[in-house]
Amino acid sequence: MTRRLPPLETLVFAILAGGLLLSVALILAGLTWEWILQGTLNTDHPAISAVNVRGLLESITAGSPEGLSPLILLSAGIAVLLMTPYVQVLAAMLFFTFRDRNYRFSAITGFVALVLTWVLFLR
């Protein structure tokens, strides 16, 4: 049975599935690289000591002194995973505001986005 999803459902589905696939791809690439380099997956990476997701993203884009490394790919995979529900909430907020003109749900999703922005980027 083929079902046509409503636009908001299609948008949320695409963000969740796309974000998850990208995240898993980055993590698997990082693990494969590590395996090739060291012959083992048992490593001793430091815990991510970023103050927030902004710090994590900055550390990923800045890279390591050696350039791109397996740890950067692993961190990027985790960062993409963290950003996926956040982007989904932002997209829903924009959808309700500009497409649906449902301002009640603009406010509701706006509140969730605001709380997440504070926790992930401003703390």
Binding site: R3, L5, L8, E9, V12, F13, L16, A17, G19, L20, S23, V24, I27, G30, L31, L41, N42, T43, D44, H45, A47, I48, S49, A50, V51, N52, V53, L56, L71, L74, S75, G77, I78, L81, L82, T84, P85, Y86, Q88, V89, A92, R104, F105, I108, T109, F111, V112, V115, L116, V119, L120, R123
Partner: protein, 277 residues
């Protein structure tokens, strides 16, 4: 911290994800106690589990959305409450002692298993139109396909004003213990808001991801997200959950599920004893 090794954590997470999906409790409820058996600090285990909840949520919610079972409006309304609860819960974890966390985790595990056990036996209620003013104002009603009976079910969520604040508690449990707290989410949606069980289960998968993200933000800032632990847990729990859902859909034997539930209760009792002693 003991280093159990990537493959061991991955294998355990796989089983935990499978177990969690089969019982309906989620992988986090199993992986955190098991990691502590391996000598991992409970706060690191909670943080790793919390990140894995996001992955499980993304995959399950995407699948359920495609099936037309998620009520996005109900989910987004309830997320307002769960994210607030998750921040409070995760902040409490940071200042709590390990023993207290063991006791709370054990109690929640037992409570969630008992709740699911009771819910399994409760008959599916007919969705009646007894909306309150807030539910009407938010236009939360929806419809879903019942494939078994080949009909469309129209449902009307009720008591949104009571269901919302209840979800603060579900969010707090999630943030505190690094679990999805799906059992509590579903219960609030089922019993308080009167959603059909399939819809509440599906909508809960969307809510737990956003809730877990709020909790993860707190753990990330505290430096508790360890890639060596988080990566195998994310991959293992997610794959295990996919396998568990696959088996669950095709399994008609409730005895297996009940057996898993008893194991979960035993783990919960053991957690309480470890915390006290």
């Amino acid at each position: 911290m003991a280093d159990p090794g990537f493959l061991l954590i991955f294998a355990i997470s796989l089983v935990a994800g499978l177990f969690g999906a089969m019982t309906g409790l989620g992988g986090g409820t199993i992986i955190v106690p098991v990691l502590t058996y391996l000598g991992v600090d409970i706060k690191l285990a909670i943080a790793a589990s919390m990140v894995s909840v996001i992955a499980t949520s993304c995959s399950s919610a995407a699948a359920y959305i495609r099936e037309g079972l998620v009520n996005l409006k109900v989910g987004m309304y309830l997320e307002m409450f769960t994210v607030s609860g998750a921040i409070v819960g995760a902040s409490i974890t940071l200042v709590s002692g390990q023993d207290l966390l063991f006791v709370i985790f054990g109690c929640v595990l037992i409570g969630a298993a008992v709740l699911l056990f009771i819910r399994q036996r409760a008959p599916e209620r007919e969705s009646a139109d007894n909306r309150d003013r807030l539910s009407c104002w938010l236009e939360l009603s929806g419809k879903c396909e019942d494939r078994a009976e080949k009909k469309t079910i129209v449902y009307y969520p009720s008591r949104a004003a009571a269901g919302g604040p209840l979800m603060v508690i579900a969010g707090m449990i999630s943030g505190l213990l690094g679990i999805g707290a799906g059992a509590f989410n579903v219960l609030a949606q089922d019993l308080v808001m009167g959603l059909p069980t399939k819809v509440s289960t599906a909508t809960s998968t969307l809510i737990i991801g956003v809730t877990a993200l709020a909790g993860t933000g707190i753990y990330l800032a505290a430096g508790l997200v360890d890639p060596d632990l988080a990566v195998p847990v994310i991959l293992g729990v997610m794959l295990g959950a996919l396998g568990g859902s696959f088996i669950l859909i095709r399994s008609t034997n409730r005895a297996v599920r009940n057996y898993f539930m008893v194991v979960v209760i035993v783990i919960g009792i053991d957690m309480v004893i470890r915390g006290i002693s």
